[in-house]
Amino acid sequence: MKSALEIAAAVRGGQSALVAVEESLTAIRARNEELNVFLYVDEDGARAAAARIDEQVRRGEDPGLLAGVPIALKDNLCTTGIPTTCSSKILEGWKPPYNATVVDRLVAQGAISMGKTNLDEFAMGSSTENSAFGPTRNPLDPARVPGGSSGGSAAAVASNMTPVSLGSDTGGSIRQPAALCGLVGVKPTYGLVSRYGLIAFASSLDQIGPFAQSVSDAALLLEVIAGHDPLDSTSLPEPTPSLLAHVADGVAGKRIGLVRELVDGADEDVVRAVNKAVETLKDAGATIVELSIPELHLGLSAYYLIAPAEASSNLARFDGVRFGNRVDGEDVTAMMEATRTAGFGAEVKRRIMLGTYALSAGYFDAYYGQALKVRTRMIEAFATAYQQVDMIIGATTPSVAFEFGSKTNDPMAMYLNDVFTIPTNLAGEAAISVPFGTGEANLPIGVQLLGPGRSEARLFAAARVLEIADGRA
């Protein structure tokens, strides 16, 4: 499949938007049953959107930067009149009366939604095995997981069903599946992309971001969805940064920190890939500084208190009263209990209980309060590091894609998959995972580039250097 940039250029040049849409539908038909990528395919909506874009071109109007580009949306993004489930039985069949801000922005720039993709229920997981509608398979090796929680959106791009997709990243849910599926995945600076219409998992950590086959497509997509939104009080007030224009800036003169804690514990093939990436960047003119940020080791524990605490509150509204599924009970309280008992899966219940406990009177200071202090230390530690370097390099995940069931019985082993990605969310900063080399079973490895808030342009430029060296462009 062509890149988003190529499709948009072709459509703006007069090629029918239906070409890419039909190509996408064909790819979906070919493998969706096997891989379980899309929970809902909006075939009619996509064709109708393509026809509208063709009409715009005929009238001489510009359909936008993503003219006719098929896109897949993680199913925790609200879409008007289109089922939005969060891969949970509790929301099965619910159709939102409104679009997430990112969806409106995509449509305004001519993108065409092909449908909604599978995820770990309410974005809680690292393998997409926690979906109430069955796991998604890794298109590169269907015996393995695509990562998670945005496994469906990663698999959509990795299987060429769409050139780009949107996911959400709370502790690594874009970067980890991007690494496991051989894609570029971006966790933008907190507040760069509006969260309005993203069904919240952990509000202070969630960010929406792009998946793409290339750095340029990822930069283009992020540029379209980024920017202040009056509907999201936490969205940054600054104007949208220019990203695509800086992709070719290179890394000459940049100082890049190789952080020990972002490689420690990774498999040998992953460590090798990171080291090779470091050499590549050095050859491109960057200065490498070896760093240690011991606070990063505290990230996982803090995350697994803060995220469940916020989730326990965010998921309270799924009570059967106003929307979604309802299981009747003898009175309202019994109805709420029955609804939540039947509607939520095991991992969601585990995190709601964890979070409720962490916020309870008598435990707050020891757990949630302590985690907030760790978070502050993490922010300070990153700030100190960024006084010395422009960006940081490390691994995205400890290993390549793992096999189904290998971690489902041990939540801690699953949680450890996010150990390298979580610190960025806690600090509210930016990070990119870019494919670089392969490891075990010839599966892709992701290298992670981290930067301070609003450093995306810099990170894209470095990722582009790695992409070229990896022979992917």
């Binding site: 929301l91 009366p97 509000s203 509204r317």
Partner: protein, 475 residues
């Protein structure tokens, strides 16, 4: 009231006021009372998945205005989530302010000269309204529960007093003064019956110079009458328990207006753990000095000052006149009284007419200009109109508008000529010789008897003062 055996009550009040904004606290839905159920709702105030709150700036301004009016420190503040499950809470948490409220540490001076401290006045969102159908009337065991979310997300300010109140009358004065301030600054319409002002009372009893007793919180006080009755009942109940050797449990109690008693709603051990934490969907609220200055500059003259200013226009005001002034200020009739003062008219008469005739037709004031009020009072003062006639003219003006002279003429309130009055009085004296003799012998009460007869004979057109003058001249 006096409590028996030297007991003293200690009362602190929590007053919730709905803010008079056009829209709700976190969304653009109309903040209106009385619309069709669930007609003022959107994804945000229904708590639909993915929706997010955006703070209403006008609500912040009104909250700051309340802070200034209550002599509080206006500080940088944050929002928290108060988590509990209830069907009228769309998100199953309430967004409120917790450890850092927008207003802290103020006070309110009452007309009797006492001062009640204000601990805080913080912002929060209102809930929807649930109606439980079935025999129980409560959530448990209800056949069906109906929820109206129109009120969900309406901005509230909760004003928490210190435990400084010592009797029901003071509690009443506190709420009345607070209500008057909230109305004056445009923060609230002050309608207790519609629930736009709601009061919870924390009540305990102790003997002076001993530590405070255990308190009970009484909910559901929807009128000043309920407030005083409930506080009095609760203090006496606690004294009974203590004097019988029992102890008070800290609990929340419900006030039953019909039965005139409080009953246990929930004890402290059953109290919810609200799991407060910072609302991550909102940023810190840090109004800059310029914004605070604008709000302060826009604050109108407060009721206490307005009362002082009006009383200064009266010479040695009586208690009744002071009450009249309070009514005038409560109903925002100051301009009418001030107009009479500026025209060098009878201010006491103006206060009386404003506090009675204008107060009775408060909603029709648009029909009565200050100038026409001033004219009517002057006509009464000069004897052109009797008191009864002046009241009738004011009533007509409020009802239909127009100018006082034309209304008086149309009503036939032409002044009787002195000759005509004199002739009438002469005829009545002749017809009632015994009464006239007693009056002449010094029984002043009989003046009233003759005034009554004259009024009847002239169909109310005579001026009482003129009749007395005529009687005196013949005495």
């Amino acid at each position: 009231m006096m409590l028996p055996n030297g007991w003293e009550m200690v009362v602190g009040l929590e007053v919730h006021t709905e803010l008079k904004t056009k829209t709700k606290l976190f969304c653009g839905c109309a903040n209106e009372f009385g619309s069709a159920p669930n007609s003022q709702v959107c994804p945000i105030c229904l708590g639909l998945p993915g929706s997010m709150p955006v703070l209403n700036e006008r609500a912040v301004e009104l909250a700051m205005a309340i802070g200034f009016a209550l002599n509080c420190t206006i500080q940088d503040s944050t929002f928290h989530r108060k988590n509990y499950f209830y069907p009228d809470m769309p998100k199953d948490y309430q967004v409120s302010q917790y450890d850092l409220p927008i207003n802290a540490r103020g006070y309110l001076d009452l007309p009797d000269g006492s001062r009640v401290s204000i601990e805080r006045a913080h912002m929060e969102e209102d809930t929807g309204k649930t109606t439980h159908l079935g025999t129980s009337g409560r959530i448990h065991g209800a056949d069906r529960s109906l929820v109206d979310y129109n009120r969900s997300g309406v901005p509230l300010v909760e004003i928490v007093s210190g435990p400084d109140i010592r009797n029901p009358q003071q509690a009443r004065d506190y709420v009345a003064e607070l209500r008057s301030i909230l109305v004056a600054i445009g923060a609230s319409d002050g309608r207790m019956e519609e629930g736009s002002l709601r009061v919870d009372a924390n009540v305990s009893v102790h003997k002076p110079d001993t530590p405070f007793g255990t308190r009970c919180e009484i909910k559901n006080l929807n009128s000043l009458r309920s407030l005083t009755r409930a506080i009095e009942y609760e203090a006496l109940r606690q004294i009974d328990v203590l004097e019988d050797g029992g102890s008070i449990r800290q609990e929340t109690r419900h006030w039953d207006e019909d039965r005139g008693e409080t009953s246990t709603l929930r004890v402290k051990e059953e109290a919810e753990d609200y799991r407060y934490f910072r609302e991550p969907d909102l940023v810190d609220l840090a109004p800059d000095q310029a914004w605070k200055d604008r709000v302060l500059a826009g604050l109108p003259k407060l009721p206490a000052q307005r009362r002082r200013d009006l009383e200064a226009l009266l010479t040695n005001p009586t208690d009744a006149q002071r009450d009249g002034v309070t009514t005038v200020v409560d109903l925002d009739l100051d301009l009418y009284v001030e107009g009479v003062a500026q025209a060098h008219g009878d201010v006491a008469l103006a206060v009386a007419r404003a506090a009675n005739e204008l107060a009775a037709a408060n909603e029709k004031l648009a029909n009565l200009s200050v100038a026409n009020f001033v004219t009517t009072v002057a006509m009464e003062q000069s004897g052109q109109l009797s008191a009864t006639q002046a009241k009738t003219v004011l009533g007509e003006l409020l009802e239909k508008g127009g100018d006082p002279a034309s209304v008086a003429k149309a009503k036939g309130f032409e002044q009787l000529s002195t000759d005509s009055l004199s002739a009438t009085v002469g005829e009545l004296i002749t017809a009632n010789p015994d009464e006239w003799q007693r009056f002449k012998d010094g029984d002043d009460k009989l003046a009233q008897f003759f005034i009554g007869l004259v009024m009847k004979a002239t169909k109310g057109q005579a001026n009482g003062k003129a009749v007395i003058a005529e009687l005196q001249s013949r005495r």
